[in-house]
């Protein structure tokens, strides 16, 4: 068999089980697009901006846990993809990003639409390739999928010059599809040391991060916590690791965590960090985080151990395997006094959700949506006050129910990620909470959603402001609100309708609760618009650089 590099690439993607890719064509990617046109196994979703394509692929990857693919052309196509790929890197999302590049002979000549994609992508990917020979494609593509999925997942970038795409290569057979590398066996001495620390601890707390979700360990960790009786706080990325209504669940820790959560951590004598990386938004001032606690740190990425906080016992391994191996070594022990203390703190320092009963207020909207859609729905957010409120208040009960841009905090993540989630799991409702600032950052993807007919609902909390920025200016910059409030605001309802969406304005609804329910039940893309007050801060809040317990408000 004799194929072009582009045809071979498409075969390799098919071989890897890829069914949907998102992208935008352009000159140097045209051979690849021509080959994609011949595929009856891969569906191409045409985004309206490459950043949208990157986040659509992320949405697919975050709900399925599988490696997904986005595609762009050289030059601006590649630079537009960067933000979505950097975002995937920080949140450990497995992607393969494929771009066209100018022909090999033109590289380095400032040719039309030439940028140094290899150099640009290097610091924001797990690994990257510039393919110089079509015969290398089987090895490169297989390695790319393997690397993206192995250990701590992440994005891999493959840049392919146009002449490599058109070159003919003899192909006899395709390689075996890549699978994730095995992880090295666990060290039983370390497991034993960790088990003893837990056994002897009077006030242990679990600190669950996104690694629990990505390693498929949510059920194992919940069972472990329940059997041994250890309360668990979750990071922004870890929400859903333990059901929010589990008696041992402490909700989210960190900058906008509940007071009781952060205070319980302060009193812990043992912190069991599982798939978490001690991010400053989660732990506040590092040296004053859990000041009295020994630390057991479990992570698949060896470079996370001792990076911010030196672990008393550090265990490198897949979280699920480690927890399953650790569980039987730890005897259950009643810690009545500690659990009473936890209950008392929960009681005296609860999370306040102002106006939670009013369905046309931020917390009320979140509650109402949760009541309407149930646990099957996928909940996505953009970045800002709305995101923090959803993280605080939404009753997440399963892993991969919640998609948010945690590490990079990218406004514009929400809509395209929601589209990706809906494409990958068409049976689920997908609800994206957004702010007016964030929605405008990738609003063009409304066209993609309408074209694909995806069942995506955007709940827009419109405060005519970059709310979270305004909040920081009011709290920490002498109330000088600058460049954060919009002096003119677009008519989002008309915009949505113009894109072919159904749109509902809660500001005009006499019965907002019923209107929300009806809008959510409808199939296809719907915008639910609600005006909210920019002066309302998300509270409580740990000022940047302060210790977790030095909270303002709430």
């Amino acid at each position: 068999m004799d194929l072009s590099g582009a045809q071979l690439l498409v075969r390799l993607l098919e071989n890897q089980g890829i069914e949907t890719v998102a992208g935008i064509p352009g000159g140097t990617a045209l051979p690849l697009y021509d080959a994609l046109a011949e595929s009856n196994r891969i569906r191409h979703v045409l985004a309206r901006h490459e950043q949208g394509a990157g986040f659509i692929a992320q949405g697919m990857a975050r709900v399925t846990g599988q490696v997904q693919v986005c595609i762009g052309t050289s030059g601006p196509g590649a630079t537009n993809l960067l933000t979505a790929i950097a975002d995937a890197r920080l949140d450990s999302v497995p992607l393969v990003c494929i771009t066209g590049q100018v022909a090999s002979g033109a590289i380095g000549t400032d040719a039309f639409q030439e940028v140094d994609t290899y150099g640009l992508s290097l610091p924001i990917t797990k690994h990257n390739y510039l393919v110089r020979d079509a015969a290398d494609l089987p090895g490169v593509v297989t390695d790319a999928f393997r690397i993206a999925a192995s250990g701590r997942p992440g994005p891999v970038w493959i840049d392919i010059p146009k002449d490599v795409q058109t070159a003919r290569v003899p192909v006899c057979c395709l390689p075996e599809p890549a699978v994730a590398d095995r992880v090295p066996p666990l060290d039983s001495d370390l497991l034993e040391a960790a088990a003893r620390l837990i056994e002897l601890s009077d006030r242990p707390v679990l600190y669950l991060g996104g690694g629990v979700i990505s390693s498929g360990a949510a059920a194992a960790v919940t069972a472990f916590a329940a059997r041994i009786g250890i309360p668990a706080a979750m990071t922004l990325m870890g929400l859903g690791a333990m059901p929010a209504d589990h008696p041992l669940a402490l909700g989210m820790l960190g900058m906008h965590g509940a007071r009781f959560t952060n205070n319980i951590l302060r009193e812990a004598d043992l912190l069991i960090a599982v798939g978490a990386r001690f991010d400053d938004r989660a732990i506040g001032h590092a040296a004053r985080f859990c000041p009295e606690a020994s630390v057991i740190h479990i992570d698949i990425d060896p470079s996370e151990l001792d990076k911010i906080r030196t672990a008393t016992v550090g265990i490198v391994g897949a979280v699920k395997t480690v927890i399953e191996a650790l569980g039987p070594r730890v005897p259950a022990r009643r810690r009545g006094k500690w659990l009473l203390r936890v209950a008392a703190l929960r009681e005296t320092m609860p999370l306040l959700e102002p106006d939670g009963d009013d369905p046309a207020s931020p917390y009320g909207l979140i509650r109402t949506v949760a009541d309407c859609v149930g646990d099957d729905a996928v909940i996505v957010t953009d970045v800002g006050q709305h995101q923090m409120r959803v993280a605080q208040a939404y009753p997440f009960r399963r892993p991969r129910q919640w998609l948010t841009s945690g590490g990079l905090g990218t406004m514009g993540f929400g809509l395209p990620a929601a589209i990706g989630a809906a494409l990958a799991e068409p049976g689920r409702k997908v609800v994206c909470f957004s702010g007016d600032g964030s929605l405008l950052m990738n609003i063009q993807e409304m066209a993609t959603a309408a074209e694909e007919g995806v069942d995506v609902k955007v709940v827009l909390m419109n405060n005519q402001s970059l709310g979270l920025v305004q909040q920081q200016q009011e709290l920490f910059y002498h109330r000088r609100v600058f460049a954060a409030d919009f002096r003119k605001s677009p008519d989002f309802l008309t915009i949505a309708r113009g894109f072919g969406w159904h749109a509902v304005d809660l500001d005009r609804e006499a019965r907002p609760r019923a209107a929300i329910g009806e809008a959510l039940r409808r199939r296809g893309p719907v915008l639910i618009h609600c005006s909210v007050d920019a002066a309302e801060h998300v509270l409580p809040m740990v000022p940047p650089g302060a210790a977790l317990t030095e909270m303002i408000g709430g």
């Binding site: 290899y118 290097l122 990257n128 060896p302 470079s303 990076k307």
Partner: protein
């Protein structure tokens, strides 16, 4: 790929030399140097020569032996093209020899 470079040298901080075996291709130096630059970890001197059949290269890096080095080592070990890392305490004779050229 062959490359030698010596940069500023901070006399006071104790030095270590990292010896890396890497896959030899045009991007590997960027991966290694970029990692150190990104994490604001100074590399005092660097040398690189191809090995045997040219499919692998050997890179020596002279770095400060401070308390951030263990974290840097773990990061280097994560690079896909780095096959092995050997730590040598102190300076390497290789660099003492190279220093002759900048006298």
């Amino acid at each position: 790929m062959t490359s030698c470079e010596t940069v500023t040298k901070d006399i006071d901080i104790p030095k270590a030399t990292l010896e890396l075996s890497v896959r030899n291709h045009p991007g590997v130096m960027s991966h290694v140097c970029g990692l150190f630059a990104r994490r604001a970890f100074n590399v005092d001197a660097i040398a690189c020569v191809p090995e045997g059949d040219g499919r692998q290269s050997r890179i020596w890096l002279m770095v400060s032996d401070d308390d951030r080095l263990p974290q840097m080592l773990r990061q280097v070990e994560k690079l896909e093209d780095v096959l092995a890392v050997v730590y040598h305490g102190g300076e390497h004779p290789l660099f003492t020899g190279l220093a002759e050229y900048v006298r």
